[in-house]
């Protein structure tokens, strides 16, 4: 526990590499801190998310994001290791250019890994949108999101590489690759379109998770020396 008590890390996650604007979200993780939240059972660790918008009052939209993020992270969080503790994840929106929630989920996940909090798998989020012409685009900008009749935020567990080669990953009897952690849809889309989105999203998330793993692995090594202070 001492190895990551009060281990704080701020991670920068730019989502969408565009000339005119990127969605940038800052995520920080504190914990595990003593005590669990009020209505939570002290038998397990709880996770709390604080969503800070760029400007303006905190309203219902921010509460919704917090709830979605909490539930998503709870599914990858190992709550039995440190009972009666709270891990806080604070999200600060720096710039919003579409696909804000997936960006935040990716940032939070990266922050948790960087803080050394043990996780079941990484949560990789992607936004799929369906245009008027019926084609599916990934990671739309804010303008595109507004124009699209429907879009969906999808969170997949990253394709796991089993620790021991040859052993299949087990999560409720289902192979990890086919699970969806979270799906939030906006607008109306046909069932077929939704399944298309899922397929595209899964493929994209595989790529994204590769990228994540590579970057996190690289960033872990030089950070050990700085974290000693």
């Amino acid at each position: 526990m001492a190895s990551y008590f009060r281990r704080k890390k701020i991670t920068f996650w730019p989502c969408g590499f565009r000339i005119s604007g990127d969605t940038i979200v800052l995520a920080a993780v504190y914990g595990p801190k003593a005590g669990s939240k009020k209505n939570e059972s002290p038998e397990k660790a709880s996770i709390e998310v604080l969503w800070k918008p760029k400007s303006g009052q905190i309203g219902k939209a921010e509460r919704e994001y917090e709830m979605i993020l909490t539930r998503t992270l709870q599914s990858i969080f190992l709550s039995t290791i440190h009972p009666n503790t709270t891990t806080s994840v604070i999200i600060q929106v720096m710039h919003d250019d579409g696909a804000l929630l997936p960006c935040a989920i990716n940032a939070a996940c990266a922050a948790l890994v960087d803080a050394g909090i043990p996780l079941k798998s990484l949560a990789v989020a992607i936004c799929c949108g369906i245009t008027e012409s019926g084609s599916i685009i990934l990671d739309p900008t804010k303008q595109e999101e507004q124009e699209m009749p429907a879009f969906a935020y999808l969170v997949f567990p990253n394709s796991s590489l089993a620790v021991l080669p040859g052993t299949p990953p087990l999560i409720e009897g289902e192979p990890v690759e086919h699970g969806i952690i979270t799906s939030v849809t906006h607008g109306a889309m046909s069932v077929d379109d939704y399944f298309d989105c899922l397929d595209r999203g899964r493929v994209a998330s595989a790529k994204l998770s590769e990228f994540l793993r590579k970057n996190l692995a690289q960033s872990q090594i030089p950070n050990h020396s700085s974290k000693a202070s």
Partner: protein
């Protein structure tokens, strides 16, 4: 309750004594001298009015937004200015979410006094309709990392964000000139705020009964300091605000010394801020134009390009003959239309030119913004009078270029006013098909390079001749 207290980090006695003893011999734990500031880095976001300040470990972000509201009854001609400080829990485990604590309120008040009550920001220019509508400027300061001396960093963030903020231009319209039209940034270039002077906060920490003083305390120094004083000054040596909330008593001579030091530091920091803001303004202006030129090179990139009228016109003037491909985010159809300057109707809706690769290569080398109008571009008498206008104003090179842009905008304004209504209604999200259909009446169909040669406009002819000449 005990659980929350358990999460607060406490300093050990050994560490406290170590820092105090080091200060007795003028050493600070991070190696600075007593009157040195930590390294200041100032970055700006892609939006106007977004500033990120890092003062050592302290990390603060400032966002400026504006809204039209009703003015206060006793000040019907002035805009309003408000500061919101947010001590984000990510800055420090002891920061609680929810209502701002004492420290947050105090910080907000110091910055507010420095900026508003010293009249740094001009409020009367924010009035749109006296007694009815004024601009309300709101500054949100987010403390992202508490490394000590939040006031100074937050003040720099607020000042930098205010300097780079651009508010939308609005004009009075309607039958009785009572309705206000807010122009989209693509239609009319947004205007910067008028800032008369830059108040800079300098914080001092006192130790050892007021005998030892240091500037810019770190987190640990703040915990053991005996007293603190924040002086907000500007480069004209005006004291905008002083805050000394209790703590150890300090001699008058020491206070005067602090004020002198603060004045020096304020000048240093003001220079840094001004340099950073100038660099940002230059980059911003370049970005507006370069965006269109680079899009023609990267035909396959999915860049969203918002073509503004001004930019189109400025690009017309500055980058003659450069045909730019504009893109609809959804479908990448190439749209090309004639943009005859004299034909004011075309100026409104059409955006694009045909891509010409060989010219593009030339353009890249030329499009470096030396700040003078392009030599082969005879935009006629207009430019010469404009360039004399700009030369008469004492501006630095990047400012001159921006001013030139603005002046050229001013020139077009009478023509553009005709197009105000339709352009305002047309949102950026209009697909090109819509725009094309609107402009089809006024604009011609697809033209090739040959047509450019035939066009009546002097500008085009000259371009054609230079093209042919190459």
């Amino acid at each position: 309750m005990e659980q929350r207290l358990a999460n607060i980090w406490r300093m050990s006695v050994n560490e406290k004594k170590f820092i105090e003893n080091a200060l007795l011999s003028d050493h600070r734990v991070d190696g600075r001298r007593p009157f040195d500031y930590r390294r200041l880095s100032l970055k700006f976001g892609s939006d106007d009015g977004t500033a990120e300040v890092q003062l050592g470990q302290t990390h603060v972000m400032g966002f400026v937004t504006a809204q039209l509201v009703q003015p206060y009854r006793d000040r019907p001609n002035e805009g309003t200015f408000s500061i919101f400080t947010e001590f984000s829990p990510m800055a420090d485990p002891s920061f609680e979410p929810g209502r701002p604590g004492e420290a947050a309120v105090e910080l907000g008040r110091i910055i507010d006094r420095g900026l508003r009550e010293s009249r740094a920001v001009d409020m009367e220019s924010l009035c749109v309709l006296a007694g009815k509508l004024v601009w309300a400027i709101r500054v949100d300061l987010h403390i992202l990392d508490n490394g000590g001396n939040l006031v100074d960093a937050a003040n720099i963030a607020a000042v930098a964000a205010l300097l780079t903020f651009r508010r939308p231009e609005c004009s009075l319209g309607g039958e009785d000139t009572q309705s206000v039209i807010i122009h989209q940034p693509e239609v009319r270039e947004p205007i910067p705020l008028i800032v008369h002077h830059l108040p800079i906060a300098v914080t001092f920490a006192f130790f050892d009964d007021g005998e030892i003083l240091v500037i810019d305390p770190t987190y640990k120094e703040e915990i053991i300091m005996g007293g603190r004083m924040t002086v907000t000054m500007n480069t004209n040596e005006d004291v905008c605000a002083i805050q000394k909330p209790g703590g150890q008593g300090v001699k008058q001579s020491e206070i005067m010394r602090c004020l002198r030091l603060a004045s020096q530091k304020a000048t240093d920091i003001t220079d840094k801020i001004k340099k950073a803001v100038e660099a940002y303004d230059l980059e911003r202006a370049q970005r507006k134009i370069r965006r269109h030129s680079s899009s023609s090179a990267q035909a396959a990139c999915g860049a969203d390009i918002k073509m503004s009228k001004q930019v189109v016109d400025v690009t017309q003037k500055k980058i003659d003959g450069f045909k730019i491909q504009s893109k609809d985010p959804m479908n990448q159809e190439e749209v090309e239309s004639d943009t005859d300057l004299e034909n004011s109707n075309t100026r409104g809706e059409n955006n694009s030119f045909q891509q010409v690769d060989e010219i593009h290569g030339k353009m890249k080398s030329v499009n470096l913004f030396t700040g003078r109008p392009s030599s082969w571009h005879p935009y006629g008498k207009g430019i010469t009078s404009l360039s004399t206008c700009t030369s008469s104003v004492a501006l630095s090179a990047p400012r001159a270029m921006e001013a030139e842009k603005k002046d050229t905008v001013a020139l077009e304004r009478p023509n553009e006013s005709k197009l105000e209504k339709p352009s305002v209604e047309a949102t950026v999200d209009d697909s090109h098909t819509k725009e094309m259909s609107a402009s089809v009446q006024q604009v011609n169909q697809k033209k090739s390079l040959k047509d450019a040669v035939k066009v009546k406009s002097r500008k085009k002819k000259k371009v054609a001749s230079t093209m042919v000449g190459e």
